[in-house]
Amino acid sequence: MAMRYLAGPQQHASIATNQIMLQVIYACAPGIAIAIWYFGFGILLNILLASLFAVAFEALALRLRGLSPAPQLRDNSVLVTAVLFALTIPPGSPWWLVGSGIGFAVLIAKHAFGGLGQNPFNPAMCGYLVLLLAFPLDMTTWHVPNAQLLDGQSFTPFSWNGLRQSLLASFPFLIGSESTLVPYIDGLALATPLIEFKMAGTSAILTALDTNAAVLGKAAGTGWELMNIGYLIGGLYLLYRRIISWHIPVSIIVTVSAISALFYAPNSFAIYGTPYLHLLGSATMLGAFFIATDPVSAATTTRGKLVYGLLIGCSIYSIRVWGSYLDSVAIAVLFGNFCAPLLDHLCRPRIYGHRKSRSLPAMQEQDR
């Protein structure tokens, strides 16, 4: 009687891929909640739109590739792409901006390279970069509804008016019969408050506490810092659940802190801010914990992850300070993705029993 063996463990105890993706989305939640508090429903609309488009495009791509969509869609990976993409583009962006960006991300940056697990570049960042290059004006103007800006002391972020204005920002074709266009503020034509704080060098939260202003109010200007602290909390949660490893985030944060401390020039008129500013006054926390740790496109060995974080940290700082792009996390992460295969090749762990970490390239049989 023939016996057929299947080698390998009979038991399996691991968090499944779709649960990993869901945990990443849950970990974004504190940061997203704070962002909605400060910047209105635009962000939520972005996320919902991006998710819908992402799922639709993913189903389309799978159908085009000849695979059945249902089992693949269940792995939730495209939802993570959608959420991270939605967080990087301005809240209140028109629906076509969201759609084209996420379409490029899913169809080209993910599926044209082979689908889940095969993409060399972070799809969300590819989508963001394409939009940045193609629609620079739309990507650098943030539509913040009047309801957010005009409320001073009595800050009610969840107003119906605010929601309505966010909807109008996302779907401009609904404006038709309205006489008033959605106002937007030129002064907020920035992704991050780096210019605002370049002279300050101090934490807005601490300033607010000192002056007894409402920390959660709009006037104190604490929005960005709190949002980043929210992402930091989410990232620590992911570390606690061991969904990501500490190497990439710690490496990025340490690098950015070190370089910004090295170059900190309080009296200079260029934006050499303090390390605190670079870490919490911009999108560094989101990048370090959520974007750069995307496992498919990042380096995969532990030593490689540390060098990957180092490269990304250096790139974040140098592109931000000496480059022409305001927020550089996306480009820095893409730069890291370029280097990741080489890092995987060079930075290998030393195998048990071997003396060197990387033996000579395998002797070709013909050289023996």
Binding site: F263, A265, Q364, E365, Q366
Partner: protein, 196 residues
């Protein structure tokens, strides 16, 4: 001129200097590595290709042996003409030449399990034609004396069958050496799918 800094900021100059030094050091190291490796015996491409071929010298590739076929491949010939090498050889040649592996060209034969020549001694007339034909001298015998195949040296190339005037040579399949065959899970899945 050389004392003038590139940029006003002191730290940026230091950074540029460090980057330049690292660049110079890396380029020196990489040229040393190249020099060291080129002083080793460099095998030619033909030798590398020949080492991947199974050396049965059977001629099924339509060349006179494995080295001429290796030469043809090096000149740009097809890599899918060797049946005794099987798919593994095609894949390894593709890896070596940065080419795409293709299925075996059926005009040159098909992948078959290895066979060994066997002389039916009752019918052998001792003409030595098969001995002259065998490329690895796996047949022993003398003129007007019994010929026999050394089974452990026979490559299964078939070249002895045609010259035999009394047609007394059979090609017999080898007994299964190691029937415990592990398959890649993807192959298991595809065979299961094909069966469905």
């Amino acid at each position: 001129m050389i004392t003038m800094p590139l940029v006003d900021n002191f730290f940026i100059n230091i950074l540029f200097a460090i980057a330049a030094l690292i660049g110079i050091a890396l380029s020196i190291r990489s040229s040393l590595v190249f020099w060291y490796s080129s002083s080793n015996q460099q095998k030619t491409l033909i030798d590398q290709i020949n080492a991947l071929l199974p050396q049965t010298q059977c001629g099924q590739c339509s060349f006179e042996g494995c080295l001429p076929y290796a030469r043809a491949i090096a000149r740009g010939g097809a890599i899918n003409q060797c049946p005794p090498g099987g798919e593994a050889t095609i894949i390894r040649l593709a890896h070596l030449l940065n080419d795409y592996p293709e299925p075996l060209n059926s005009a040159h034969g098909s992948i078959e399990p290895t066979k060994i020549a066997f002389i039916r001694e009752a019918e052998c007339i001792g003409c030595t034609k098969c001995i002259q034909a065998c490329p690895v001298d796996a047949i022993i015998g003398g003129a007007k004396l019994m010929h026999t195949v050394i089974a452990s040296e026979c490559t299964g190339c078939d070249l002895c069958v045609a010259p035999c005037p009394v047609d007394c040579i059979d090609m017999l399949a080898l007994p299964a050496q190691n029937p415990w065959q592990w398959q890649l899970p993807t192959e298991l899945q595809s065979t299961a799918a094909a069966r469905r």
